[in-house]
Symmetry: C4
Subunit: 269 residues, 4 copies
């Protein structure tokens, strides 16, 4: 179990950096995984930008989003999104919440998002739309209360991606890799749908095509091929930085200017 | 005070490079901060592109935009934007003026800019529009006279972002970090609004949502998380260059071709 | 022949990485070349993302898409696209299949793609549209059966680029370099056509202009100039990574987290 | 003169790489400068992509576009664009021809390009449109005959930028730096105009604003500030590559695969 947990921490932290490198998340957004040995727990980074997440940042929570181990780290405010979906959906092993620029226009305009190419089929035929106003009126839009998380999970139902009005989107998967694949290709699908719409017509996949194409592309082969590609891209980018640790250190701002030493000191280069 | 000033210079120069790295400013645009110990002064870089600003480039000005210390450096032509806003708004501690490609279409088309997602709420409900033609007729569009700066500050009123017709935008903040956060996420908001409009409908946040979401996101936690992310991105990019100082030096053009030695000689790598 | 084959493997693997670096392919898409000494065979990478392809990844197939040499490597599912086109078109020496974001909106909207500038003329006057629904009804959209490949090759006819409904596009050439040139500039042409359409009018080249401009730009001079440029870009990017082999190695995830060791172990960096 | 010529070669080769790095030119496009000591000659690179141009690539031509010194290098096909403009416009010291993606939609749609912000004013109030069909009927669109160059120069008149139907654009300047500044900011202006148009309205600068803003921004101060910025960006990118010369060399393809040794062997990296 210890070995498996270490591997999961590595994979989840890499998933964070992949999503950042592919432009899905920026300073905000997060991805979690259900605990491999205890379905009543999940793992997610402490409060920090996905691009900066290292294995040591991964914390453990109960599905009620209480930290399992005491920590001085700050937590993500929206971790109820994860806990509530794991509670409602025993089949879900990974959850990603983001505000990707490709998908946000659909969350703002309420235009329906549909699969327009075989790789976009991985998001499923139906993408439900959840609006915090329906159950909670005017809020800060972020989900911080358990009832908000439960409302979202209910709206998600058995779908695999959900749009959140004026806020973002959330995708689920049966593994970290499937969740990352679905998230990235759903965003590409959204970009393509927008462009096709500007050309005057959107011809979506039919239901049978969605089903067949999703089954084809979510097999281990394509999932691994895409994961290897994204992983190599982020590692290449990091290798370039790693080549110059001393030079980088020499350019660090003076201590007095650094308000968040804890946040950066732990980063392993 | 000496320590604080050094830290402020570091932070302001980093803010310059963050704004450049995130695509908000290019060769032009600038960000300033009110002097931490004297509300009658502000700090801003000498005349140079934000991407190149180092702590030693930061100069001190009175609110009438006179340099406090004699210098042979060239000054920004538009520093009245900063001085006049600091005079009119005692609550403002930082000012950023830019021509970001995301926001310019609104400055050109006069389409109203509205918060369309929680992070965009940081720009406030109302974004006033200022047109140099109204008070000054046909000009070079840049603001170089005190009366132009005062006219802009008056139009800004108690808002936190203002559009400037056929020219750009200016944002203010209660700190450098808040000002950078507001500037970057207002630009992302503008991009998303444009895309949503192309999809046929823009559903903005309501006034209560703007207020709640702005309050949530401008807390120290989210501000630091975003700042750490942007700072790391720019430092990573700079570390890559710093790894090859000799090679870089070897490719410098012949002296005869360099017309601006002072501008580049001072840059610390 | 051994020397030539080694050179072809180098060139084909470089073509893969060029197409990835220029944003034509991502985790998916592939390019092949007909065997220089045996027109009944073709060469294409084993199943992996084009950005990662090295000469040792290039495998040999018959035109019936059977591997010539036994291998434990996984194969591309869609290699019938290549085999069937080589069977139908003796003049074709290279084939590229992709889902480039510039061209996909045309594959989704069925808007006609036309040459709008001299470099886009390289795709030819006529770009046929093939829809898997016509011959096969609802499928997973990918082409994995010989009859699917033959249907596509028939629709291609004597054209040099074909759109594939809700899926992608395929381009052919009389050499790897011509195929890469046509693919990249057809995608740029598609982007420009989309933007011109948004401005209200698309004025295409007339048939004579297409013929003359294609002949001019597909001469060895322009082909080499473009190839040298793209090759240098990808080599520069790779050189940056190669500068830090140890640092990169130090950041590899723990073994337990790596599900696809074979896929990455062979990569020479 | 020898010193000056060496400096001009350095500056022109840097201008080439700046234009490539800022996305104005790709494999194609070129920039020239009038000979500093002989107004009857001009300097331009031999036939190669601008990103790869080094000082040793710069050749000298008469205004009839004949090479001054014998050379085995290949020449640009379209150098009549440069020679004919230098003949017609004694005030012009630099010429840039490109197919920038920002400006091409205007060359394809014939939509009028207008200055929409102060920096775009540098392209002038009037941007003429030249169509090769008017004087020459259906051609390959490229300008290779003296009469084609003269026709373009006549259409340019006393303007500083001209659109070329289904082909590209050409800009002139009183110096390399002014020409580069005008080219880059005209392209940014085109992008902003397109986006404003999508928002529903384009409010251009009035004639007086164009005149004043152009005069303000084309002064030495802003020109140098922008040049320093672009030069630093391209040098930073090159420094990253220069850090790994051995690693890069180790990845060169086998000799047999290299068809253009002369083109790459001379490149100093």
């Amino acid at each position: 179990m210890a070995d498996t947990l270490a591997a999961i921490r590595e994979e989840l932290s890499l998933a964070n950096r992949i999503l950042a490198h592919e432009g899905i998340v920026d300073a905000f957004g997060h991805i979690s995984v259900r605990h491999p040995g205890d379905p009543g727990r999940f793992l997610i980074s402490r409060h920090r930008a996905p691009a900066l997440v290292a294995p040591a940042d991964i914390l453990e929570y109960t599905l009620d989003t209480e930290p399992v181990h005491p920590t001085t780290f700050r937590h993500y405010g929206e971790r109820v999104i994860h806990g509530c979906i794991y509670q409602a959906r025993p089949d879900v092993m990974a959850v990603c919440h983001h505000h990707a620029p490709a998908m946000m226009p659909y969350a703002i305009s309420r235009a329906a998002m549909v699969p327009v190419y075989h790789l976009g089929a991985s998001m499923g035929t139906r993408v439900p739309f959840w609006d915090s106003r329906d159950d909670f009126g005017s809020t800060a839009l972020v989900l911080v209360k358990p009832e908000e998380g439960r409302s979202l999970a209910k709206a998600l139902g058995n779908a695999s991606t959900i749009l959140m009005g004026r806020h973002g989107a959330t995708a689920v998967g049966t593994s970290i890799r499937e969740c990352v694949f679905r998230t990235i290709f759903s965003c590409k699908n959204a970009e393509l749908q927008t462009q096709a719409r500007l050309l005057g017509h959107v011809e979506p996949l039919d239901a049978k095509e969605v089903e067949l194409a999703a089954a084809y592309n979510l097999r281990p082969g394509p999932l691994e091929r895409a994961w290897d590609y994204w992983a190599q891209r982020v590692r290449d980018a990091e290798a370039r930085v790693a080549a110059a640790p001393k030079a980088a250190a020499a350019r660090k701002p003076a201590k007095a200017a650094r308000k968040t030493p804890a946040a950066t000191r732990k980063r392993k280069r």
